[in-house]
């Protein structure tokens, strides 16, 4: 073996240090652009829950900074949730576009878990309303069941992607939902807004602070 190395003409000027830096940077950059940005997703849901639940609480009790008329409160709440769903869907679709294989199957299965969970919740709510549940019962049930679905799915996601921040968020959402349910309607809206929405925002900050894809192979 000779000590000379043959190169293409177009690699002139790339010394080992530059080459290693290029490899590392490109790998990290590509990884970031193929996975959803959790700061954006948690931030979006944090704002939607914080503002949405505070509006709901304010419009029911006439208290707080966001006390809208009762009818407007529900509309604003629903509008914020729909907006958050759209932002989430579009963002994930863009980030994961064009990639096929085991990880996209995993992602699709996980995505369906959310749809199925909320589909099931909708039928529970419809059934409870049909059985004559009072507005107070429905007001407890709605946030509690959705919090249960969200919390459990974050526990699953955290376990699947070995993401402690996501798992912790799941635990926190479950706790917030339990506390909210015990507080009763309409105080549960305040609990879900401050603890639940606040939890999402804290999770967004934690993810931002830990930097790109902690735990990814170097």
């Amino acid at each position: 073996m000779g000590t000379t190395t043959q190169h293409d003409q177009d690699d002139a000027g790339l010394d080992p240090r530059e080459a290693l830096a290029l490899l590392d940077a490109e790998r990290t950059r590509t990884q970031q652009r193929l996975v959803p940005d959790l700061r954006l997703l948690y931030g979006t849901w944090g704002v939607a829950w914080l503002v949405g639940f505070l509006v709901l609480w304010g419009s029911t009790t006439g208290r707080g900074p966001l006390a809208l008329p009762p009818a407007a409160g529900g509309v604003v709440f629903a509008g914020l949730l729909v907006a958050a769903v759209v932002v989430t869907g579009v963002h994930i679709a863009r980030r994961t576009a064009g990639v096929r294989g085991a990880s996209s199957t995993q992602g699709a299965m996980y995505g369906w878990a959310w749809l199925l969970g909320f589909g099931c919740m909708a039928s529970v709510m419809a059934s409870a309303a049909g059985a004559g549940a009072s507005p107070d019962v429905l007001g407890v049930l709605g946030p509690a069941v959705s919090g249960l679905v969200v919390g459990l799915l974050y526990l699953g996601g955290g376990a699947m992607w070995q993401d402690r921040a996501q798992y912790s968020l799941g635990v926190w959402i479950l706790l917030s939902s339990a506390v909210g349910a015990l507080a009763g309607h309409p105080s549960n809206h305040l609990v879900m807004g401050l603890l639940g929405g606040g939890g999402f925002l804290v999770a967004a900050l934690v993810v931002a602070a830990r930097g790109p894809r902690a735990g990814a192979p170097a």
């Binding site: 790339l14 096929r100 085991a102």
Partner: protein, 114 residues
């Protein structure tokens, strides 16, 4: 005296292909990426990307698979096991090249960590 330097893989060492292989290695093992998305990520023209992929394919480092989604032809690119191994070997070779340099630099003047 000359230390024997490890050979650098000329297929990978060209900057454009180094970037390309690094990007493909960012996918999980067994995942493949559509040609247009790869082109968008790399910021290369289709012709340029195609040429680099052909070289990598000839070396057995990537597979280029043409499929149809409905009536639209789609091309998917995937790093082979051999390609992943080649990148690992190449990274190790680069590190080996760097080590004596780093040692010498440390012995001489302190490194400017910029």
């Amino acid at each position: 005296m000359n230390d024997p330097l490890p050979d650098l893989d000329p297929v990978i060492h060209a900057p454009a292909r180094l970037r390309l292989v690094a990007a493909l290695a960012a996918l999980d093992d067994g995942d493949r990426i559509a040609f247009p998305r790869l082109q968008q990520l790399q910021g290369l023209t289709a012709g340029n990307l195609g040429a680099h992929l052909r070289k990598l394919e000839d070396a057995g480092y990537v597979t280029v698979e043409k499929t149809h989604r409905g009536r639209t032809p789609t091309t998917y690119v995937q790093l082979t096991r051999r390609g992943r191994q080649a990148l690992e070997d190449h990274t190790a070779a680069l590190r080996a090249l760097l080590e004596p340099v780093t040692a010498r630099a440390a012995a001489g003047r302190s490194e400017g960590a910029a």
